[in-house]
Symmetry: C2
């Protein structure tokens, strides 16, 4: 048996009490220097095929796995990116996360997440600091809040941070879905059906997406010379949509409602059903997001589709560009698509 050049003995003990093999251990078994092993592993520098084979066999035999900490220490690269995610099951953020993870993995990066239950300036700053202590090479902030934007305004210039869906005024690259345009599409669609105006259930005031959707809705009404009803505000949940629906059900001139997201639209549909209001016969309803269930609501929901996987992919791309020294003011916009279903169908 090859002898270990090191003093050996169980130092870094795993549960089983044995030290993980190191480059030097592999080198000993293969009868080469540790540098040759390193070259085989990283494909740097030339190695004779027969030497390589011996090294690979030794690696296999010992079950060698490179020590990423040692590698990171010397190269200064950890191969890890951080994602600050909102701790919620909202369809959008969760999908975006997977899009990012996918793109990152393909590019050889791992993803560390740090979740934030209630977004705020300091909680996001904490999460970012938390990730930086993990020595991530770059950070993506998925926290589409106004407060997130404010937190990002203090983003360090010498560290790559990008934002998705928020922080439009912050000095970081931002990728977002064109919420205003999506809202415009939904609203115009409803107006085109002949309704005098369109009501809106907005999302929480501190969400940029909510603001932009509301803005797009309002602009469109104004451009078409339609009256702008008072805004009803929800919190994205079906429950809040339901409550909005109960209050809307009392309005007499109710023709069309554009809900800020699909969950609220669902609550709305529920409230209308209970109030004996038929959709689309009495009132037409549209949502936003196109969650996979939207096609099976009662009735199937007209909504605005956002391609979150694409958003995730492009977010990673933006971060990669920024890590390469790219512009801090890069912007990317994903255009949403209107999906028409029965909730705005013929009467």
């Amino acid at each position: 048996m090859a002898e270990r050049p090191r003093s050996g003995g169980p130092l870094k003990a795993t549960a089983a009490g044995t030290r993980q093999p190191s480059l030097t251990d592999v080198a000993g078994v293969a009868g080469v220097s540790h540098m040759t092993v390193s070259r085989v592993i990283n494909g740097t520098g030339p190695v004779r095929p027969e030497t390589r084979a011996r090294v690979l066999a030794a690696i296999e035999e010992l079950g060698y796995r490179p020590n990423s900490a040692a590698r990171a220490l010397v190269t200064g690269r950890t191969g890890t990116l951080g994602v600050v995610a909102l701790e919620s099951n909202l369809y959008g953020p969760a999908s975006t996360l997977y899009g990012i993870e996918n793109a990152a993995r393909e590019a050889g990066y791992a993803i560390t997440i740090s979740s934030v239950s209630r977004p705020g300036r300091s909680s996001i700053a904490d999460a970012v600091e938390n990730l930086r202590r993990q020595a991530v090479e770059g950070i993506i902030v998925i926290a589409p809040h106004v407060s997130a934007g404010r937190a990002l305004e203090a983003a360090p210039a010498d560290f790559p941070v990008v934002a998705v869906g928020g922080g439009e005024t912050a000095p970081v690259p931002v990728i977002s879905v064109d919420q205003r345009d999506g809202a415009r599409r939904a609203t115009e669609h409803l107006l085109a059906l002949g309704h005098r105006t369109v009501w809106h259930i907005a999302g929480p005031e501190d969400w940029l997406e909510a603001r932009d959707r509301e803005l797009g809705w309002r602009e469109t009404l104004e451009r078409h010379g339609a009256g702008v009803p008072r805004v009803i505000r929800g919190d994205w949940s079906s429950r809040s949509g339901y409550e909005a629906g109960r209050s809307l059900a009392k309005e007499k001139d109710l023709d069309a409602v554009f809900a800020g997201n699909d969950q609220m639209a669902l609550g709305l549909l529920r409230a209308f059903a209970e109030a004996g209001i038929s959709v689309p016969r009495d009132v037409r309803v549209a949502g936003f997001d196109d969650v996979p269930e939207a096609a099976y609501f009662t009735p199937p929901l007209t909504t605005v589709r956002q391609d979150f996987i694409e958003v995730g992919r492009r977010t990673f791309g933006l971060l990669a560009g920024r890590m390469d020294g790219g512009d801090r003011h890069a912007r990317a916009l994903v255009v949403p698509e209107l999906i028409v279903r029965e909730s705005t169908g013929p009467r």
Copy 2:
């Protein structure tokens, strides 16, 4: 200005081109040795309050951040756990992930995720290997598939891996929700309403949860001497529930249906609505999961609630125990709860 003892110069360059300060840099500024700085940071060993203050000031001044790679190299601990997650927006897995992340963060661990788009023996093994290369200290596999269980059978004994919701025969600690019991509750509830039998829309055959729910349903029917209708199989999606509903709508003796999850129940409700079947008047329907929207379906859905945040928390606990040398065969079971709503209400 204090002089850097090191040769200095920009080595590990950030985007701005400056080297991150090291312990030695801080020591130079504070006029102490690097060891004293280390002691201040880690709270190991005694330090005079006045020295500590100088060190803290230097840390602040330089914006020093400990190098986690160097620390990991020498301590052998990375403070990171890996989670193998299914790349899906299914409500359960996503919620579980947040529960885990929360508990882990409180315990001082970071979470690295590796997602798997289509679970299978090798893809899970790949993800695990991927995480081990990241030097995580333990791994949680959220992949409630039969194949995941098989992948875990090869789990190394000397490395802490725990599974959530699957791999019951594997030599790893497992935490799961008692699916059979949940299915029993739903089925008994429907039977108690006086129906001769209950139909079932099962989830995909390779999901353990689907198997267990089906088993719980079947057992309950048999125990009550009810006939067992043929099983209709979906894929958890609303679309598949819809298709199941279309085929079920043709059955003449249809009284009650227990859907394998809430999404499929939604599709089912949709198909019944289209077929002119009224729920609960003509048919009663129950689901599984209690997604936040279930209360706003048309009609509101009776379903079985799983506390996924709790599952996440307990999963972390199980991993922590295992990393402490705990048993490989630990098991934990979370009991679900039946939530009764209108879909099984009075006629």
